[in-house]
């Protein structure tokens, strides 16, 4: 039996975390499981809203079993009962077939959240920024904007001296929030440009890209006073080149804030030298399914169809289509919130037939993962497919002297996967996953870009890390 204790810091700091280790092992050893084929994994899941029970089991290639404990929730539960239930297979209402993580139903919920954000906000009474840690985005900061702008001026002056400065100077912001970052940046730009005296503002093209038209509308209002300097575009974050192909090799700055952690991802694991893909399957526990069905006057088995319909047509049309259950859109949003809150994931490990046969994105095979996942013992990590799609689609937009600056939840060393839990979790109505920073770094390196990670200076103690990518050599 392997025992994998991951939450290194918590175990060091928390007597409560340590105190459950003994009982966990005793319970597992007393269970009827074949201990020779059992892995025990202990995490500390910091997201109070997440997709797991306190104890879950995961088949490993149909021969072995991994049983996983959330130490945060194990102190006050009947461990023996939970272990038995996990090993027996927890009953519930299955919502989808087994799929790779990136294709999970949770991403449809996530997509709906951004599409119908205004409805969600109206129902919860909170704007989404208020649900971020600290109640606001980390994106806006005058000092940070000033530094970036002055560096751009330096580059532009040099290029201008060589008659190599393009007529139009493109800045791209992906994930625009409520427009505060754009407003701060542009207002600062105007002031600094006036002082600099080169009239770069007149050549500036500030492009705001976001998945959500609602968010874009709000952001557009925030920068209305910059008129034609600013354009807003609906951009599919994982495939920016589809909308932004015209920008190839033109962008001097691509600014991305809190986007990557919210994009679909697979997880891969190396167990005993073999590589597995983590497959997931969304479900509701029996209790939750019964409770939701009763609350909205539906039959338990109809929930599968209702949830699918909600995700296809949104809460407004759902209330029109099913007035019996949902008298108004607010009721449909209440259903949405209840389903989301109850949503859980089963997981299993499926052997991968070679990294090169695993497609991370349409243009990137799993071969790139080899240095991170092979030869380092057992590890489970995010592939960050959506983030990589976005990142690799963004790099070609950069002017040779351009850079990407990205604030997000990044792991900065693969080793961190051995010492902590990094998602998925629920953040308000959206999914949050930390991003596999070393993988982005590796992919960028193979494309001739250097990547640096630095703590987000404008808010010490924040989990946000700044990634900066620019051409090397």
């Amino acid at each position: 039996m392997d025992v994998d204790l991951r939450p290194a810091r918590k175990l060091r700091e928390s007597a409560a975390a340590r105190s459950v280790l003994g009982p966990i092992l005793e319970t597992v050893c007393a269970s009827p499981a074949d201990l020779g084929r059992l892995r025990v994994v202990c995490d500390w899941i910091q997201y109070k809203q997440n997709f797991r029970g306190a104890v879950v089991s995961r088949p490993v290639a149909d021969t072995d079993v991994e049983i996983a404990f959330d130490l945060r929730r194990c102190a006050d539960i009947d461990l023996a009962a939970h272990v038995k239930q996990a090993l027996d297979g927890e009953p519930g209402l299955t919502l989808e077939p087994w799929v790779p993580g990136r294709d999970s139903l949770i991403w449809r919920f996530n997509q709906l959240y951004w599409q119908a954000l205004s409805r969600w906000e109206r129902h919860t009474g909170r704007e989404y920024e208020q649900s971020l840690p600290g109640g606001e985005s980390d994106a806006r900061n005058t000092e940070a904007a000033r530094e970036l702008i002055l560096e751009l001026f330096r580059i532009w002056d040099e290029l201008d001296a060589r008659r190599a400065l393009p007529e139009e100077l493109y800045i791209l912001e992906l994930g625009v929030g409520n427009g505060s970052q754009a407003r701060t940046w542009l207002d600062e730009f105007v002031q600094l440009d006036r002082r600099h005296g080169r009239e770069y503002y007149h050549r500036l093209r500030y492009l705001m890209g976001d998945y959500s038209p609602h968010v874009l509308d709000r952001a557009r209002q925030a920068v209305a006073h910059h008129g034609e300097r600013v354009s807003a575009l609906v951009v599919e974050a994982t495939r920016p080149a589809v909308t932004l192909g015209f920008l190839a090799q033109k962008a001097f700055l691509v600014y991305i804030s809190n986007v990557y952690d919210n994009l679909p991802t697979d997880e891969l694991a190396s167990i005993h030298g073999r590589t597995y893909q983590v497959e997931t399957r969304a479900f509701l526990t029996e209790d939750d399914a019964e409770a939701i069905a009763a609350r909205f006057g539906a039959r338990r088995d109809d929930l599968v169809t209702l949830i699918d319909r909600l995700l296809r047509i949104g809460p407004e049309l759902l209330s029109e289509a099913n007035p019996g259950q949902f008298a108004d859109p607010g009721q449909a949003v209440a259903f949405w919130r209840a389903a989301w809150e109850a949503l859980r994931l089963r997981e299993r490990y499926v052997p991968l037939q070679g990294l090169d046969s695993y497609q991370i994105t349409p243009s990137l095979t799993g071969e790139i993962l080899r240095p991170l996942i092979e030869g380092h013992g057992d590890v489970r990590m995010h592939v960050s497919n959506g983030a990589l799609g976005s990142f690799t689609g963004t790099l070609p937009l950069l002017h040779p002297f351009g850079r990407v600056q990205c604030h997000d939840l990044f792991l900065t060393a693969s080793q961190q996967y051995r010492t902590g839990f990094y998602g998925p979790g629920k953040y308000d109505g959206s999914v949050v996953n930390w991003v596999n920073g070393p993988l982005l770094q590796l992919v960028a390196s193979r494309r001739g870009f250097g990547v640096e990670f630095t703590p987000f200076r404008q808010r010490p103690g924040s989990n946000i890390t700044t990634l900066t990518a620019q051409a090397r050599d």
Binding site: E367, H399, P400, R447, D473
Partner: protein, 340 residues
């Protein structure tokens, strides 16, 4: 033959070959095994070019890890402290701490380029273009702690490359190309670069080409701008043709050919090597027709913008076929006596 077709040098490096090359630089396979792998890849590259209908072929530079290190690692006096690499394509950190030893060197201290050429020569009956990176670009990747005057390192490298060129000519090479992929980043040093080119070509009786682009490392331009910086300095170069990129950048710089009275050959880049999108033959033909407004057909050679190394094998093959088909359209027009 009017409008001969050729390549700039490098050919598509498939993912499996990249992996094997990296295995070598991480000491997991031997130099001998890598050499054999490279030779198989070169045979395939030459065959691909022949099948695509390319008139003047290359070895695809498939022995080389990148455009710089293959040479620096062989030049006596260039010190490379760490020769293992995380990825084969990464650049070494190279330095010179003493002036490079002047020729004649010890036997066996050459770079071995003539042997590379001989291998390709026995593979094909087609004419061969053999390219190597020029002294200016090589110097940009060396930390110079030996020369008080930086230009002296460039000149010393040029003398070393001149010796190689003599060996290549003796081995039967007829078309040699000097690549200066870094020059566009240092336009103020164009006179030095041209002076060094003339050292390389001195007394080597072959057809000489000079390729200047805006960089193609990782299929991205390293710089942007116009070829204005190249003229009129390049007119002093003892070369027979300049090979320039136009497909990606547009054809505006063709005006420089007329403006500066360039009366030698032009290698016209008609294929964008930084994009996987395959150009239609008609687009290639239209680019050639436009160039013919500035250069007579008997002084125009047709090639991609730069090396094909970052394209997938299938896309590289398709692009070469499109180029050949585009040339055929214009050749037909010229042979019919119609106005291009």
């Amino acid at each position: 033959m009017l409008l001969p077709t050729t390549v700039v040098g490098s050919y598509s490096v498939p993912e499996w070959l990249e992996r094997l090359k990296t295995e070598y630089y991480q000491r997991r396979i031997s130099a001998q095994h890598l050499a054999e792998i490279n030779e198989v890849a070169i045979k395939a590259a030459v065959k691909d070019q022949e099948l695509a209908g390319i008139d003047i072929v290359s070895d695809g530079e498939l022995r080389r890890d990148n455009d710089v290190d293959y040479f620096l690692a062989r030049i006596p006096g260039v010190h490379i402290p760490q020769r293992a690499k995380t990825d084969y394509f990464d650049y070494y950190d190279a330095e010179v701490t003493h002036p490079l030893p002047e020729l004649p060197g010890e036997p066996g201290t050459g770079l071995g380029l003539a042997d590379d050429f001989r291998f390709t020569r026995q593979l094909t009956r087609h004419p061969i273009k053999f390219s190597f990176t020029g002294p200016f670009s090589l110097s940009r990747r060396i930390r110079d702690q030996a020369y008080a005057e930086p230009g002296d390192l460039v000149r010393a490298l040029a003398r070393r490359l001149n010796a190689e060129a003599r060996d290549l000519a003796a081995a039967g090479a007829e078309l040699l190309q000097i690549d200066e992929p870094f020059l566009a980043g240092y336009p103020e040093q164009v006179e030095l670069a041209i002076e060094a080119v003339n050292i390389v070509t001195e007394d080597v009786p072959v057809t000489w080409a000079l390729h200047v682009c805006y960089g193609n490392r990782y299929a991205r331009p390293s710089w942007e701008g116009h070829y204005d910086f190249l003229f009129p300095a390049v007119k002093a170069a003892r070369v027979d043709q300049v090979v320039l990129e136009f497909a990606r950048k547009g054809l505006d710089d063709l005006r420089l050919i007329r403006q500066h009275g360039w009366d030698k050959w032009l290698g016209l880049g008609v294929i964008d090597v930084k994009s996987p999108e395959v150009e239609p033959a008609e687009l290639v033909a239209s680019r050639i027709r436009r160039a013919l407004e500035y250069v007579p057909p008997d002084r125009l050679m047709v090639n991609p913008d730069c090396g094909l190394r970052h394209l997938t094998p299938d896309v590289a093959r398709q692009k070469l076929r499109a180029m050949v088909a585009g040339v055929a359209l214009v050749r037909d027009e010229l042979n019919e006596g119609g106005a291009p």
